[in-house]
C-alpha cells in the first residue's frame, strides 16, 4: 500500500474490529462486533472478501486453530493485525483526529 493512501471505510472498520477483539478475532466474532458496536450488518461473503484483500495487502495474518465438534471438526482462522496493519490503523486514527480539530462548534450547532 502506497505511503500516503488509506484503506476504504469498510476495511478500516474490519481492521479496528480485529484489533478490538484481540485473541478473539474469528470471522463470526468480527461480524458480531461490527453489528454490536456500529450497528452495521455485514454479509459474510463481503467480510471474507475484505479479509482476503487485507491479507494480500499484508495488513492481517491468521493462524489456524483446531475446531470443536460443533464445526464438524473444521479448523478455524484467528485473525491478527500485522505490523503494517497496526501502523495503518494508527495512521487512520491520527488522520481522523487531525481532521476533527476545531469542528466542535459546527457539530454542536447541528447545521452546516
Amino acid at each position: 500500500m502506497p505511503a500516503n493512501s488509506y484503506p476504504g471505510e469498510f476495511e478500516q472498520m474490519v481492521l479496528v474490529a480485529v484489533l478490538r477483539l484481540r485473541q478473539d478475532a474469528f470471522a463470526l466474532s468480527i461480524i458480531r462486533e461490527l453489528d454490536r458496536v456500529v450497528g452495521r450488518e455485514v454479509s459474510r461473503g463481503a467480510l471474507y472478501r475484505a479479509l482476503d484483500r487485507l491479507e494480500s495487502k499484508g495488513l492481517v495474518k491468521w493462524e489456524v486453530e483446531e475446531g470443536g465438534p460443533e464445526r464438524g471438526g473444521k479448523r478455524r482462522r484467528r485473525f491478527r493485525l500485522t505490523g503494517a496493519g497496526l501502523a495503518i490503523v494508527r495512521k487512520c486514527y491520527e488522520a481522523q483526529q487531525r481532521l476533527w480539530v476545531g469542528l466542535e462548534p459546527e457539530l454542536d450547532r447541528g447545521t452546516p
Binding site: R44, G45, R49, E70, R75, R77
Partner: protein, 885 residues
C-alpha cells in the same frame, strides 16, 4: 437447550465446497457456516435454520464466489467467459436457437400462467387495504348446486345492526337497469348500495358526492352515481354529468357523482343507485340477493366468525324454518367471488404449465450435457492448467446464462402474446369478467420471469458441471468421443428424456381432449336451425310495469308480432334461450306418495310464450304446444322435454300427468300438455354432471309474467328490418320498452361457450409446445448417442456391420426411453384427464381416439427425431472414425 445439533444438509455443503477456496481458507469458512447453523437450529428450530442455511449458501456463493472471481483478475474474467460462451453458441446457431426457444416457451407459458393466477386471485379488489374487506357469505345446505342465494334484505338490516366486530358493515345488491328511452335505451349493470358502502370501500367519487342517508329515504328525488366511462360517453366530460337528469327504469334520476375510472364495484357496474331503507315487516324470507361486507381492522378473522355465528344462532332459534341449514362464512372479497370449479380449473393450468417448464428445463439441460460430453477435453485442459473443475466447467454456466437470457427474451414475447390473446378471448363484453380480474404483464410478471430465468440458468448450467466435477482431468481427457463409461451423463440424460416424454404425453392427452371438445362444440347439432334466429332482450323490471296485468299485456302484444310482420317468420318470448343454462327448479311428480324431499329432483325450467317453439321450427313429439288461452287465471300448464319424460316418467307419455315445480310457498302444480325435443336447456354445462342434465320443463310465460324475457325471432328477410319492426312495435306499446342487446344466435352460442374455447385453446397451445419441446429432447439424446459412439460405430462398420444393424443400434436408444416415457405418461394422462373434466364438452375423458393419437404422435416424433442422427450414423466413415484419436 443443549444436545447434539443435526448436521446441515449435504447438498448445500456440496454447493458451498464447489465455490469456496481449497485448504484451510475454505475449511474455516465452511466451519463458520456450521457454527452459525448450530446457533440457528437452537434458536429457531430445524426448518427455519434449514431455510436460512440454504439462503446463506446461495448468498455466500454469490458474494464470495463471484466476487472472488472478479477481484482475482485471472486470465478469464466473467466477461471473457461470456464472450467465449457466445462464440461457442454461435458456432452451433441452430442448437442455440432451439435451446432458447425451448426455454422461451417454458418461461413464456409460465409467465402467462402467473399473469392469469395473479389477475384472478392475487390482484384483489382495487380499493385501499383490500385485504381488510370481509364478505359475510351465506351458504345453504338445503340448496343443491353452486347457486346459493345470498341474504334477504331483512337479514342485512339485522346483521348490520347486531354484529359488533367489523368496523362498518354495508350491503349491496346487483341488478340491471334500462337507461334512456326508445332508440336511445340501453341496459346497464347497476348496484343498489347502502349509503355507507363508501365508508367501507374508502374510494371517494372523482366528482360530485357520495350518497347520503337522505338519498336512501322513500319518496325523495332519485339520484345516481355514474362510472367514469359512462359519464364520459354520455356527457363528454365526467364533471358535466353532475346535476343532469337521466331516465333509469322509467324514472327521472339526477346524477350526483362520478366514480374514478378504475372503480366498477362489485364487478362491472356502470352506475350505482341508493338502496332505499325500507322498514322490515312480516316474515323473514329465506335468502335473497343482498351481499354483506365490512372492513375488519384485525388480521384474525376468528372473532368476526364467532360474532356472526352468534347472530345466526339467534336467528335459528327465532325462525327455525327460515334458517334451517343456513351457515355463514367469512371470506375476503376475492375468495367469495372465486371458488370451487374455477380454482380446480386454474389448478389444472398450473399443473400444465409446470409440466411445460420442467420439460423445457430438462431438455435444455440435456442439450447442455450433449455439449459437455463432446467437450470433455476442453474442460480437462482447463482443469489441468489449475483452474479447479468448477472454474473449468464455468463455460457451461456462462452458456446457460446466455441461453436463459435469450430464452427470457423469447419468453417475454410469448408470455405477452399469450396474455394479450387470453385477455381478448375473455373480454368483459364476452364473458362479463369482473373488473377486479385483469390479465396483463405487470411488474410482478417481469420479476417472476426474471426469477425463472435465474432458476433455469442454475439448473441448466449446473447439470453438466456437477457431472464433470466428479471426474478427474485424466479421465476426462481419455473420455472424448470414445463414450467411456466413466462419464455418467448418459444415465441422467436417459432419465430426463423419460420424464420428458411422460410429461408431454400427459399434456398432449389433455390438449387432445380439450381440442376434441372444441370440435364437438363447433359441430354440435342443434335440433333447430340457428341461422335465421335473432334474440333481443325485453326488460320490464321497472316499477312502472308493476301494475296488475301490465306485463301480461305487453308480452301479449309482443306474442302477436310473430304472426303479423312480414320480416319476422315467427317469434316468441322466453326467459332462457336454448343453448344457455336455464335455471333449476325443484320438481315432484303426482302420485309420488307424500312428496318427500328425497323424491324431489331438480330440472331446468324456462317460461316461454306462444310462438317460441314456432320460431325454432320445433313440433311437439306428443300433445300440444302453448296456446293463447294458456294465460293467467287458467289452469297452469307445462311442456316437458323428451329427457324429462324419459327420466321421470320411465318413457311413458307425460301428457296428462301433473308435476309440481318450485318449492315451499312458490311451488305450483301444473298439467303437462306436451312433449318437445331437447333444446339444450343445460347450455354448455358438462354433460354427465348434475348441471349438465338436459331434463327440463317449460311453463307458459303468460301465466308467469316474469320481469324480463328475451324475444326470439326467426327472421324471414333482412335482420335490420326485423329489428326495426320489433323496435317500432315496442315503442308503440310503451317508450320505456326497447329491444336490448339484439344478437344473432351464433353470438348467443359464442357468449355461452367462450369458456371451453378460451381454456381449451390454452391447453392445445401447451400441448403443442410440449410436443415441440419433447421432439428436441429426443433429438438431443439420440444425436448425442451417435456423437458419443462414433468410434464404436466406426469399428462396427469396419468389422462388417450392416446398415440395418447400425440403425437398430441408434433406434434402440430412442425406443427404450420412448416406451418407458409413454407408459408413465399414460398413467399421468389418465390422472390429468380427471382434473380437466370441467373443460370438456361432450368428450369422454378416456376417449380412445385421443390416447391412440397421442401415442402415435409421440412415436412419430421419436422416429423423426432419430432420423437425422441415424442418417449421420450410417455415413460414419470407419477409417476416419478410428483415426480420430
Amino acid at each position: 437447550m443443549s444436545g447434539r445439533v443435526p448436521e446441515p444438509p449435504r447438498f448445500v455443503d456440496r454447493l458451498l465446497r464447489s465455490v469456496l477456496p481449497s485448504g484451510v481458507r475454505g475449511e474455516s469458512i465452511l466451519g463458520d457456516a456450521y457454527d452459525e447453523w448450530a446457533v440457528k437450529v437452537r434458536a429457531k428450530g430445524y426448518l427455519r435454520a434449514l431455510f436460512w442455511y440454504g439462503l446463506h449458501a446461495v448468498r455466500l456463493s454469490f458474494g464470495y464466489g463471484l466476487g472472488r472471481w472478479f477481484s482475482r483478475g485471472s486470465v478469464h474474467g466473467l466477461t471473457t467467459e461470456l464472450k467465449v460462451a457466445a462464440r461457442a453458441l454461435l458456432r452451433t446457431p441452430s442448437a442455440a436457437v432451439v435451446s432458447m426457444t425451448v426455454i422461451g416457451l417454458g418461461i413464456g407459458l409460465a409467465m402467462f400462467m402467473f399473469a392469469i393466477i395473479y389477475g384472478v386471485f392475487l390482484r384483489g379488489l382495487n380499493v385501499p387495504d383490500a385485504h381488510q374487506i370481509l364478505v359475510l357469505s351465506r351458504a345453504d345446505a338445503t340448496v343443491p348446486g353452486s347457486f346459493d342465494p345470498q341474504w334477504s334484505y331483512a337479514d342485512t338490516v339485522d346483521l348490520r345492526r347486531n354484529q359488533r366486530t367489523l368496523n362498518q358493515v354495508s350491503t349491496y345488491r346487483t341488478t340491471q337497469v334500462v337507461v334512456g328511452l326508445a332508440e336511445n335505451a340501453s341496459r346497464h349493470t347497476a348496484a343498489l348500495i347502502a349509503a355507507n358502502l363508501w365508508e367501507v370501500l374508502q374510494v371517494p367519487p372523482m366528482a360530485g358526492r357520495e350518497f347520503s342517508d337522505d338519498d336512501a329515504q322513500i319518496g325523495v328525488e332519485p339520484v345516481v352515481i355514474l362510472a367514469e366511462w359512462f359519464a364520459r360517453e354520455r356527457f363528454g366530460e365526467p364533471r358535466l354529468a353532475l346535476g343532469e337528469v337521466i331516465r333509469i327504469d322509467g324514472a327521472e334520476t339526477r346524477v350526483v357523482g362520478v366514480m374514478p375510472p378504475e372503480f366498477r364495484f362489485p364487478e362491472n357496474q356502470d352506475l350505482w343507485l341508493p338502496l332505499i331503507e325500507e322498514p322490515v315487516v312480516g316474515l323473514r324470507e329465506r335468502g335473497g340477493a343482498f351481499s354483506v361486507l365490512g372492513r375488519s381492522l384485525e388480521d384474525d378473522t376468528s372473532a368476526v366468525r364467532q360474532d356472526v355465528a352468534a347472530v345466526l344462532a339467534r336467528w335459528q332459534d327465532e325462525h327455525p324454518e327460515t334458517y334451517d341449514g343456513v351457515s355463514v362464512g367469512v371470506e375476503t372479497f376475492i375468495e367469495s367471488q372465486t371458488g370451487g370449479e374455477l380454482s380446480q380449473l386454474f389448478l389444472a393450468m398450473v399443473v400444465a404449465v409446470t409440466f411445460v417448464l420442467v420439460i423445457a428445463t430438462a431438455n435444455v439441460a440435456n442439450l447442455m450435457m450433449t455439449r459437455a460430453a463432446t467437450r470433455t477435453v476442453q474442460v480437462a485442459t482447463r482443469a489441468a492448467l489449475g483452474g479447479g473443475t468448477f472454474r473449468a466447467a464455468f463455460p457451461f454456466l456462462a452458456e446457460a446464462l446466455l441461453i436463459s437470457l435469450g430464452g427470457a427474451a423469447i419468453g417475454l414475447g410469448v408470455g405477452w402474446a399469450a396474455v394479450d390473446g387470453f385477455d381478448r378471448a375473455t373480454s368483459a363484453t364476452l364473458t362479463g369478467r369482473p373488473s377486479y380480474i385483469q390479465f396483463e404483464i405487470g411488474i410482478e410478471s417481469w420479476l417472476f420471469s426474471a426469477g425463472l430465468a435465474f432458476v433455469c440458468t442454475v439448473l441448466v448450467g449446473l447439470t453438466p458441471v456437477m457431472q464433470l466435477r466428479r471426474l478427474s482431468p485424466a479421465v476426462l481427457m481419455r473420455d472424448d468421443s470414445r463414450g467411456s463409461s466413466s462419464l455418467r451423463v448418459g444415465r441422467v440424460m436417459r432419465s430426463l428424456v423419460v420424464v420428458e416424454v411422460a410429461l408431454s404425453c400427459a399434456l398432449l392427452v389433455g390438449s387432445g381432449l380439450t381440442a376434441r371438445s372444441i370440435l364437438a362444440l363447433s359441430s354440435y347439432e342443434y335440433p333447430f336451425a340457428t341461422e335465421p334466429l335473432l334474440a333481443a332482450d325485453i326488460d320490464l323490471a321497472a316499477a312502472k310495469f308493476d301494475a296488475e296485468g301490465e306485463r301480461a299485456r305487453i308480452y301479449g302484444e309482443l306474442s302477436r308480432l310473430g304472426a303479423e310482420h312480414p320480416s319476422i317468420a315467427a317469434g316468441g318470448l322466453t326467459t332462457a334461450l336454448p343453448a344457455t343454462f336455464a335455471p333449476f327448479s325443484d320438481i315432484a311428480l303426482e302420485n309420488d306418495g307424500d312428496l318427500l324431499r328425497r323424491d324431489q329432483r331438480q330440472v331446468h325450467t324456462a317460461s316461454v310464450g306462444t310462438g317460441f317453439f314456432a320460431a325454432l321450427g320445433v313440433e311437439p313429439i306428443d300433445g300440444r304446444l302453448f296456446r293463447r288461452s294458456d294465460e293467467a287465471g287458467q289452469r297452469r300448464v307445462a311442456i316437458v322435454n323428451i329427457s324429462l319424460q324419459q327420466s321421470a316418467f320411465d318413457g311413458e307419455s307425460a301428457v296428462g300427468r301433473r308435476i309440481r315445480l318450485g318449492s315451499g310457498a312458490e311451488a305450483t302444480w301444473v298439467d303437462v300438455v306436451g312433449v318437445v325435443p331437447d333444446l339444450a336447456m343445460a347450455g354448455f354445462a358438462t354433460p354427465g354432471t348434475p348441471d349438465g342434465d338436459p331434463s327440463g320443463a317449460y311453463l307458459s310465460l303468460a301465466q308467469e309474467e316474469p320481469e324480463a324475457a328475451t324475444f326470439l325471432m326467426s327472421v324471414a328477410g333482412e335482420t335490420e328490418s326485423a329489428t326495426a319492426a320489433l323496435r317500432a312495435v315496442l315503442t308503440g306499446i310503451d317508450p320505456d320498452v326497447a329491444p336490448l342487446d339484439v344478437r344473432s344466435f351464433d353470438e348467443v352460442i359464442r357468449r355461452n361457450s367462450w369458456f371451453y374455447r378460451a381454456f381449451g385453446t390454452v391447453f392445445v397451445i401447451f400441448g403443442v409446445a410440449a410436443l415441440f419441446i419433447a421432439a428436441t429432447g429426443l433429438y438431443g439424446i439420440v444425436s448425442f448417442g451417435v456423437a458419443r459412439r462414433r468410434q464404436e460405430i466406426g469399428v462396427r462398420v469396419a468389422l462388417g456391420a450392416q446398415p440395418s444393424g447400425v440403425l437398430r443400434l441408434v433406434a434402440r436408444q430412442a425406443g427404450g426411453q420412448l416406451a418407458l416415457g409413454l407408459c408413465a405418461g399414460l398413467v399421468l394422462a389418465w390422472m390429468v384427464s380427471r382434473v380437466i373434466v370441467n373443460l370438456m364438452f361432450n368428450v369422454d375423458p378416456r376417449d380412445p381416439l385421443v390416447f391412440v393419437s397421442v401415442i402415435g404422435a409421440l412415436g412419430a416424433v421419436g422416429v423423426f427425431a432419430s432420423l437425422e442422427p441415424a442418417w449421420r450414423a450410417l455415413r460414419v466413415d470407419a477409417v476416419e472414425a478410428l483415426r480420430a484419436r
